[in-house]
């Protein structure tokens, strides 16, 4: 008779009236095919229209719906209720970020971090578009493809203890992005990027905890990018003095 339900304990915080965040519990119907985001949408549509959180695609490509689910950073549109049953589910805003409201975090510094690594193709001489594309073989593409899959979901920042202590650290996704462009056979700008990456807030901050790669939903493996960049920048610094445009 009565439908099976599951309990979501959701962190609420409205700065204009709450002194501190608190937990509110909701009973939602349990459905085999529901993800945590479906449960949140159910709460918003049926139980409590004031609950705030971000989402867009519901298919794991936009990277908007990251939250802590039972203490782990997750895309809530890919976190199934069935994997937590029969226990209760704790939903909190992503760790290491200031909270704007309920489950919505302030990520304003993140975009600047991304652009700080100059994520575009840098060429000694630009080619007019009319000449067609730069050639790039499938192998050359495979060399960096993995590092290009980032959806800016911030799960890696939330998992990173260094970022938790030092918010100026440019962080896993930005470093992976820099590495993606460094590895791109069309690019000639790694020396410029490496100036940023080896700066005080760059790769050397990382003590190789590796949690970023564990939580990354797209298998970008930022930890590997960081390690490889550390190795390359050490040898690259030496080479860069001799031949400014030689890269890899």
């Amino acid at each position: 008779m009565s439908e099976e339900t599951i309990t979501l304990n959701v962190t609420r915080y409205r700065h204009e009236k709450d002194r501190a965040p608190f937990i509110q519990s909701y009973q939602v119907p349990y459905r085999e095919d529901w993800v945590v985001l479906d449960a949140l949408n159910h709460i918003k549509d049926e139980l409590d229209g004031t609950l705030s959180y971000r989402w867009s695609c519901r298919m794991g490509v936009c990277g908007s719906c990251g939250m802590m689910v039972n203490g782990e950073p997750k895309l809530t549109c890919s976190a199934f209720l069935r994997d937590y049953r029969p226990g209760e589910i704790r939903v909190e805003p992503l760790e290491n970020f200031p909270v704007i409201r309920d489950l919505v975090i302030d990520m304003s510094g993140f975009m600047d971090k991304l652009t700080s690594v100059q994520p575009w193709i840098i060429r000694e001489k630009e080619k007019p578009v009319s000449e067609g594309e730069y050639l790039q073989t499938p192998d050359q593409l495979d060399a960096y493809q993995q590092y290009s899959q980032c959806i800016n979901c911030l799960l890696c920042y939330s998992a990173c203890p260094i970022f938790g202590l030092e918010t100026d650290f440019i962080g896993p996704a930005a470093i992976a992005l820099a590495y993606r462009y460094n590895l791109d056979s069309r690019d000639e700008g790694s020396h410029r990027r490496n100036d940023v990456i080896t700066d005080v807030n760059g790769v050397w901050e990382c003590t190789f905890v590796g949690e970023c790669s564990v939580v990354c939903p797209k298998h970008v493996d930022p930890a590997a990018a960081i390690q490889k960049l550390k190795v390359e920048t050490v040898s690259g610094m030496v080479r860069g003095f001799l031949m400014p445009w030689s890269r890899k």
Binding site: R14, E16, R31, E32, D33, W34, V35, D38, K44, D45, G49, T50, L51, S52, R54, W55, S56, C57, R58, M59, G60, V61, C62, G63, S64, S78, I100, R101, D102, V104, M107, M111, L114, T115, Q118, P119, W120, I121, E126, K127, V129, S130, G132, E133, Y134, L135, Q136, T137, P138, Q140, L141, Q145, S148, Q149, I151, N152, Y181, D184, R186, D187
Partner: protein, 605 residues
């Protein structure tokens, strides 16, 4: 009414592909540019585009050229396209792809390093530049990185509720910050609408919560014309199971890579649905279809399989199969890539789809059939624009991307949208910058107008309201699905217009709880006005097109009418009422007409 005020030469509403491309162009021309968007930068709907972007690059097949792309686009659009737009579009498409590539976008490659192209429905040759099945995301990232590096201001999580007008001219936009709920005025010399689609008019849709037809409604209220609004594309392959993901898109790339449609008994049914217009161009038997291989130029004895017919045709075929009792268990058709490509190929070419089904439906597409059915996906109609500059009939107002109409006619070919965003986004940005540059002073703001917008926007907080915005929205979606959906009839459409009047009355009586700070209920309430307005435009236009064509299918008029082929439907606001009109299209000039060499189409026009 001392609202925060922000000034730019050009304000762009929307940060999808069209908006960002417009911003890059306008800022490149020296204009100060602000981009306003409802969600975060990088999360616009464009990020969800999977299949690719169409351009006659001629890498995959040297026989391709802009003329062939022109022909396919107009034939796919069932002749209703604005041919001037199609000409510009197909001629400029390759440059726009190459430009993205030069800015850093990655594309899948041929062995010799050129941009690889894939097959897609309605395109004669393999024409879609792509990267796996995340082309839109890569496009958006590239534009985002390139755009920010040009110093464009982005105002995120900020929703425009109306355009500011100075007399009959655009003067900016009035918006609220989603977080604080406070109002902000963007004053500008020129405004570009790049707000995307309106899938949220329907219950089953591949679109996200953002797609509520805001731009179309903003333009309409400002006095601009909307064209071709009866043409809504139902994508044939949305997920149908499980219910929580019903409508989510299964990319056409699956069929482009060889996937085939089957009925409940495993029979390939598309051979029975080849329309006369395309007779002779598609394989007629399963044996022949099997000889066709994705990526290999087809020969006369290996024509493309009918599973790659245009979307309107495939969507109607699936619906007919389901109605005839031959559908899959959950009311769709089977889509089979498992028997057509190896596990390794599938995982390489369609990694996103593999994971989507694995995760959401616990189904391994390398081994099992998917279940698919039509889902509302794209609106061909939109704001009527000038092909060269994307200006609208309202001075200072420009539109590009899905919000604009004309390019796709009665049916859009897959892959033509992403390219549309680049070609016309660029033109709209240039048009707006030029217009702004020619204005000596910032247009004025009319305090009465601001007061009115504000009053309407805050109405849902008044005690007197009785309606729940979420319920009104659900009722609207149900109505559209039933009365103005994939197959239509006069009575239902007329009935739908009646229901819309009631829904409109209910929408002004909605009541929301809480206060203005990040209040999703309030956001729903404001979206409702736009959804209802665009639903009315769709339904009214559909009621008056007594024929079936492209995305518009009338049960009571199953044939296309040669007379109605000559006209497009235009709606506009006339004294507070929505008025419609059939306007005669400028005919194709002779040389372009010749491109469409097919007997059916050579009848005197």
């Amino acid at each position: 009414m001392n609202h925060e005020t922000i000034e730019h030469d050009v304000i762009i509403i929307g940060a999808g592909g069209a908006g960002l491309r417009a911003a890059i162009e306008a800022s490149g021309k020296g204009a100060s540019v602000g981009v306003v968007c409802k969600s975060l930068l990088g999360k616009a709907h464009t990020a969800m585009a999977e299949g690719g972007m169409a351009a006659a690059l001629t890498t995959a097949d040297p026989r391709d050229n802009w003329e062939m792309h022109f022909r396919d686009t107009i034939r796919g659009g069932k002749m209703l396209n604005n041919w001037r737009m199609v000409k510009i579009f197909t001629q400029e498409a390759p440059d726009r792809v190459n430009e993205l590539e030069e800015w850093g976008a990655l594309f899948d490659r041929t062995d010799d390093g050129r941009i690889l192209q894939r097959n897609f429905g309605g395109h004669q040759y393999a024409r879609l530049a792509h990267v796996g099945d995340r082309t839109g995301l890569e496009m958006l990232r590239t534009l985002q990185n390139h755009g920010i590096h040009q110093g464009i201001e982005v105002y995120m999580e900020c929703t425009v509720v109306d355009l500011l007008m100075d007399g009959g001219k655009a003067a900016g936009a009035f918006a609220y910050w989603r977080d604080s709920g406070t109002f902000v005025q963007f004053r500008a010399k020129a405004v570009v609408l790049a707000t995307g689609g309106l899938g949220k008019c329907y219950t089953i849709t591949s679109n996200s919560w953002e797609c509520t037809g805001d731009g179309q409604a903003l333009a309409y209220r400002a006095g601009a014309e909307l064209i071709d609004m009866e043409f809504v594309q139902f994508h044939p392959t949305g997920m149908v199971w499980p219910p929580s993901v019903r409508g989510l898109l299964v990319t056409e790339g699956v069929r482009g890579e060889g996937g085939v449609l089957r009925d409940k008994d495993g029979k390939r049914f598309m051979f029975d649905y080849i329309p006369e217009m395309f007779a002779g161009e598609y394989a007629e038997t399963e044996e022949e279809a099997k000889r066709w291989r994705p990526g290999v130029p087809e020969g006369p004895d290996a024509r493309r399989p009918p599973d790659l017919l245009t979307r309107d045709v495939v969507a109607r075929a699936i619906r007919a199969e389901v109605r005839a009792g031959r559908g899959s268990p959950h009311g769709g058709a089977y889509l089979d890539i498992a028997s057509q490509a190896s596990e390794a190929q599938i995982k390489k070419k369609l990694p996103g789809m593999y994971h989507q089904f694995m995760q959401l439906a616990s189904l391994d597409i390398t081994k099992e059939y998917m279940e698919v059915g039509p889902t509302s996906h794209y609106v061909m109609g939109g704001v009527r624009v000038d092909p060269e500059t994307c200006s609208t009939s309202v001075p200072g107002l420009f539109a590009a991307g899905e919000v604009a109409g004309g390019l796709h006619g009665a049916n859009r070919l897959g892959g033509n949208s992403l390219t549309d965003l680049m070609v016309f986004g660029r033109r709209a940005g240039a048009g707006a910058a030029e217009y702004a540059g020619a204005l000596s002073a910032m247009p004025g703001v009319n305090p009465d107008q601001v007061r009115d917008i504000e009053r309407l926007a805050l109405a849902p907080f008044e005690e007197s309201g009785t309606e729940n915005p979420y319920e009104v929205m659900q009722d609207l979606q149900k109505m559209m699905e039933h009365d103005s959906g994939i197959v239509r009839a006069k009575e239902e459409l007329a009935d739908g217009l009646g229901k819309l009047r009631t829904l409109k009355e209910r929408s002004v009586k909605v009541r929301v709880e809480g206060n203005r700070q990040y209040n999703p209920g309030w956001h729903y309430a404001l979206d409702l006005h736009n959804l209802i307005m665009v639903s009315e435009a769709i339904t009214l236009s559909a009621l008056h097109r007594d024929e079936s064509r492209g995305g518009h299918t009338r049960e009571d008029f199953p044939e296309s009418s040669p007379e109605l082929e000559k006209v497009n439907t235009v709606v506009r606001n006339r004294d507070g009422e929505m008025a419609w009109e059939h306007v005669t299209r400028e005919p194709l000039p002779g040389d372009l007409q010749e491109l469409l060499s097919h007997p059916h189409l050579e009848e005197p026009n």
